[in-house]
Amino acid sequence: MPETVFEPWNDPAANPLIQFRNVTKRFGDFTAVDNLSIDIFEKEFFALLGPSGCGKTTMMRMLAGFETPTSGTIMLDGQDISPIPPNKRSVNMMFQSYALFPHLTVYDNIAFGLKRDKLPPDQIDARVKEMLRLVQIEKFGQRKPEQISGGQRQRVALARALAKAPKLLLLDEPLSALDKKLRQDTQFELMDIQEKTGTTFVVVTHDQEEAMTVASRVAVMDHGKLKQVDTPDRIYEAPNSTYVADFIGDVNIIEGHGKAQGDTMAISWAEGQPPIIGTPSKPMDDGNVSFAIRPEKVAISAERPADRNNVVQGKVLDIAYLGNLSTYHVQLPSGIVIKAQTANSRRRASRPFTWEDEVWLSWTDTAGIVLER
């Protein structure tokens, strides 16, 4: 039996849980969300990624019901949710500041939403205990939020938002208040919890690493518009614009004039240099293009490699030693600086190159992507 891959967005028969249809939100003269349409499916872990002010938080607040769209409709499970106030929506939110109730214990914080639903006490008790177990804070049920650590508060906030078993859970920068080590551990726990509960998660973040790690799909936003909605690997390896390529990870961008050559494209980018061969992101006509290549796909060597089309020579300008990786900034004769990254897989190897060294950079025909300019 073939393994079923979770890709409802590729299944035309799948019904989206959330549909934004031409949604626009204006605050005075400022357009926070600009005629945006998007489908989010059940059980997805969907990340809205973008710089601050790109409209991602506004989208989340519209889903929660704290803002209403200026125009367009938002459908949840086939129902227009615009007229429904936040307290009547089967949507819960985990706030960036956690927004725990300081006067209530951890237990009562988690029970808060259930009590509003007037559930019988034994049912509430069972559910709260289940939640405490899920996020592994059973020991701290009777403490106040100020009596637990930041990481535990984050768990309480998550448990409180999940307690009512919402159709959709919104997470606003869920891990931004944690330090790096804890953040990485918590990312995996978050994915684990999402899988266990089967809840649809929509996470808002400006941290691309976080989005890439946790999400099934990432939407990159800028100025109220969607730039690209895709799986993390597609966003990274096949960005559709220089904005997305530049926003996610590190990238070298070389501008030039492209000419189609079968499946590839030859880009003339500097006087007297052979053209760069790259793979276009989509079929495109000859014209001005940007060539984007990730630093880890650029090889650096002392001798000129014989077997590659894309070879350039330059001088080492800077070296950034990161422990696991080293990034070389190599300046080409035309003045362009290209970053090349190598893995430091051996501990005692001395650095092969140093400042001012003449080196060769090379990459394969498929390593870089050609983007329209």
Partner: protein
Amino acid sequence: MRRLTWFNATSLTLGFAFLYIPMIVVIIYSFNESRLVTVWGGFSTKWYGELLQNEAFLDAAWVTFKVGFFSSIIATILGTMGAYVLVRGGRFYGRTLFSGMIYAPLVMPEVITGLSLLLLFISIGLDRGLFTIILAHATFSMCYVSVVVSSRLVSFDRSVEEAALDLGCTPFEAFRLVTLPIIAPAVISGWLLALTLSLDDLVIASFVAGPSATTLPIKVFSSIRLGVSPEINALSTILIGLVTIGTIMASLSTKRAVMRRERAERMAEQAG
């Protein structure tokens, strides 16, 4: 412990002497046997006894208490409601004007407040007495409550209220179950402030008080005009005592709150 330098010691002595010598004089003379205020006639507590026999003073104290109690409660409710609307009501038309206007009575000379209230009460034909004093005190002290409560509302995270809505509260439930418990310390200090202001007030009360009701400050002030009596000294000493007890209790509870917070922080660290 560090020893004070002679300069600091002098400043301390001078400052506190300036503050407390008048009160100490009152306390000492309240135990004076002699009826003459300036002549020491030996130790006695008889003026306290006489004070307790003095119906006029006791009535005035009772009126003051009633006025303080009711006016501070009205002021707390109205002041909190006002603060909530001004801070949380969004950017409704005229908000800036209202926010400014709530501070105006704080800087208004009391004589003017008293006079305008008096004119209002006369023009609507309200008989002056206990009720008008309560109204007048609630009017001027609610601004103080409002200022105290709104500074607390401004500093607390709005998303806590949104979380309450998100978890199924109606806006009123969110206020009752989340906002109010969180701002309670500010509401209580606003209430205490309103109570103190009411107990303390002479000027406004003397405009709006009628023959049927006199507050203690009015009574004290009018009897002083006939000459200082040892009874007044005894009364002052009792008031000083009450204020001292109140202050000590307030500072103890502040200290307890600090200790509780420190304990919470320690627990949080250990829980880490």
